[in-house]
């Protein structure tokens, strides 16, 4: 299905990542957002509030992030494509409702423009320290999709991907910007609506008599209806059976929770989204994402100039983690260098994937700015020895 042209601002723009993200969400068909202001994410909803009355939709500024993160889910069950946007402290407050969206299989998008933490931390300065929170922040077991753009153009592109995956897998999707990407202004090309693929909701064709809201199809994902369709659906955060009725038995818990995790398996393997370069002869691979991947680009160039066979693996879909891809790579390189603006998060996944087949070297940074490329270069040089 093509994008609805009403939401698509076709043309060449010079805008920052937050604004580009908003345009991507609009192009994907988002017509509802409930937000709460927080630096450095606010520009996304500011632009949405400005744009939506002429596109046709609703923006509401809620009383807190707890409200913002569930109001959008009410809108989804009423039929809308909906999202919210936040940063660190707000992301923490939204965790319970990310779990609700996972449990009730509510397709929606959460944008987190990461800043330094913990707590109020560095409101205006970058970090990438919410990556584990994005995956594990809500209680219990569930699968998660998280995408990491590294440019305003990708903020636009991946906002559409985020909604498409949310609809396909009936799941919340995290779009993980960082302050640098959110506030970086670059050229953004927005194509014509008919060149943008948009995944429609999985509306059922079954009648109310036989339809079950949580009965999985062959791809492990159930189809949907919305309130007002005459299906008398029941949606609960309690462990529930295929009809949606509470059923707190060990059997139902086992099969529902396993499915919430396993339905995302294709994205961990064959459909993982990543970018590579110079891997054919690489002895050292820099695994990075977001703004850090652009800093690492400089380090990789300097390393090649010194004759070090260094290659790039950029995570775009950070969750589910592309374990198999990195494991295969780990078998034929000396080391993986993992720079990130946190004290070691995705590097733990890289270590797990490498499973001892190569060295894994973290290049940590507590946040507030980006790495100096020389620091990453130094790690590459040492890894190559």
């Amino acid at each position: 299905m093509h994008a609805d042209p009403k939401g698509v601002l076709t043309g060449v723009h010079f805008i920052d990542g937050d604004h580009a993200c908003c345009e991507g969400l609009l192009a994907a068909g988002a017509r509802f957002s409930s937000g709460y202001p927080i630096t450095p994410s606010t520009e996304v909803v500011e632009r949405f509030a400005q744009r939506i009355p002429t596109v046709g939709g609703v923006f509401i500024q809620m009383e807190d992030e707890l409200a913002a993160s569930i109001t959008l889910q009410g809108a989804v069950w009423a039929g809308a494509k909906a999202f919210t946007v936040t940063s660190g402290p707000g992301f923490s407050l939204m965790m319970e409702h990310i779990g609700l969206a996972a449990m009730t299989e509510t397709p929606c998008v959460f944008v987190d423009v990461q800043r330094g933490g913990p707590s109020t931390g560095l409101p205006t300065l970058p970090a990438q320290a919410d990556m584990m929170q994005a995956r594990w922040g809500s209680h219990g077991d569930y699968g998660m999709i998280a995408l990491c753009p590294n440019s305003p153009q990708e903020c636009f592109d991946l906002a559409i991907t985020a909604f498409n995956l949310a609809e396909e897998f009936r799941t919340p999707v995290m779009l993980m910007l960082d302050e640098c990407i959110g506030h970086m202004t670059e050229k953004v090309v927005i194509p014509e609506a008919e060149k943008i693929e948009v995944t429609p909701r999985r509306w059922t064709s079954e009648p109310p008599e036989t339809f079950q809201l949580f009965k999985p199809k062959a791809d492990m994902v159930p189809d949907m209806v919305k309130a007002g369709d005459g299906y008398s659906i029941h949606v609960t955060g309690l462990t529930h059976d295929e009809r949606g009725y509470p059923n707190m038995t060990v059997d139902v818990q086992d099969r529902s929770v396993r499915r919430l995790v396993n339905k995302l398996t294709p994205l961990a393997n064959e459909r993982a989204i990543f970018e590579t370069a110079d891997l054919d002869d690489a002895e050292v691979v820099v695994v990075s994402y977001g703004i850090t991947s652009r800093v690492a680009q400089r380090a990789l160039k300097l390393a090649r100039e010194q004759g070090i066979k260094a290659g790039k693996f950029r995570l775009i879909s950070a969750w589910p983690f592309p374990t198999e891809r990195l494991r295969a790579l780990a078998g034929r390189v000396k080391a993986m260098v993992v720079p990130e603006i946190n004290l070691g998060q995705m590097v733990l996944e890289v270590e797990r994937a490498a499973a001892g087949k190569c060295k894994v070297i973290p290049v940590s940074h507590a946040g507030g700015t980006v790495h100096n490329p020389e620091v990453i270069l130094k790690a590459i040089v040492e890894a190559a020895r």
Partner: protein, 299 residues
């Protein structure tokens, strides 16, 4: 044995059925509520109000939070949503805004709506969001074993106030009125006809509506406070209630054993959220304002 109990009187028509059954998920009965719990009585009244108000049931949704009353959504034969603790109102807000054709009812308890969810309640009332909020006030956190709620009256004993509650309570009608609600009423589970009538009025009224229903919790409130069983609570409601329609909500504070002022306190008209939104957008944007399409995912 049940055969000996069923009084099958000769004149009972074979097609006689309980009038509330079409409004409930009878396949989920019996419900989880304790013997004498008043929540079922309020649901009974709600089912009758759905019938008498003649709302389109296909366009009527019910949203609950967490707790004993939070389970109401699961028993109503409507599109029903059992959300998170305290957040039924923002969820309902999203539903109403994304599809204004829906009649959106929030049905939850006093702890859910006024402790953890208190902020959402006052903001939805301030916005005059067109949602209907029913609060079953059993004056305690019952699902979790009888802890103090912001409605537990002074000196009552709870599991977290073993020496008696000393915090002041919220006066819910006053809170609702001050925050901007269009319709505010309070009854007890003794006042079944009035509850059903208020619910019918609420379903027909535009804007933020609030009904508080005082209800027995024989297991965790009455028992721990040596106040007898549910029937004793009902007799107390009958004796202590004073119907004062239009009473100033400054006079509706509850106490442990005192008078219960009941009635319809507020019934006023002011533009609801969506009306104000549209008026503002049209005044600023004129023809450029584009009305939201419902269910945009079908586009």
């Amino acid at each position: 044995m049940s055969d000996t109990l069923l009084e099958v009187l000769p004149e009972i028509p074979e097609d006689a059925h309980n009038p509330v059954e079409p409004f409930l998920r009878m396949d989920r009965m019996p419900h989880i509520w304790c013997p004498g719990c008043g929540i079922g009585t309020t649901v009974n009244c709600f089912a009758r109000a759905l019938q008498s108000s003649q709302v389109d049931l296909k366009k009527t949704v019910i949203v609950s939070g967490i707790g004993c009353t939070g389970r109401v959504a699961g028993y109503a034969n409507l599109d029903s949503f059992h959300t998170t603790h305290g957040r039924a109102i923002p969820f309902a807000t999203g539903m109403k805004l994304a599809n204004p054709e829906l009649n959106v009812v929030v049905y939850s308890g006093d702890g859910d709506l006024f402790a953890i969810g208190g902020n959402h309640f006052i903001h939805a009332a301030r916005r005059n969001m067109d949602i209907k909020v029913v609060c079953v006030n059993n004056m305690i956190y019952a699902m979790t074993g009888g802890q103090t709620a912001p409605t537990t009256p002074g000196t009552s004993v709870t599991s977290t106030a073993p020496y008696g509650v000393y915090e002041p309570t919220f006066n819910l009608p006053a809170l609702a009125e001050a925050a901007g609600a269009s319709y505010v009423a309070r009854w007890t589970t003794f006042h079944v006809k009035q509850v059903a009538k208020s619910m019918e009025e609420m379903m027909k009224k535009k804007g933020f509506c609030f009904i508080e229903i005082i209800s027995p919790c024989p297991t965790l409130y009455q028992r721990r406070n040596k106040m007898g069983d549910a029937l004793d609570a009902m007799k107390y409601y009958k004796e202590a209630s004073k119907v004062r329609n239009g009473a100033p909500t400054s006079e509706t504070t509850l106490s442990k054993t005192g008078e219960i002022v009941v009635g319809k306190f507020v019934d006023r008209d002011r533009p609801d959220y969506l009306e104000v939104l549209k008026a503002q957008m049209v005044s600023v944007l004129g023809d450029r304002y584009t009305e939201p399409e419902n269910s945009c995912c079908e586009c």
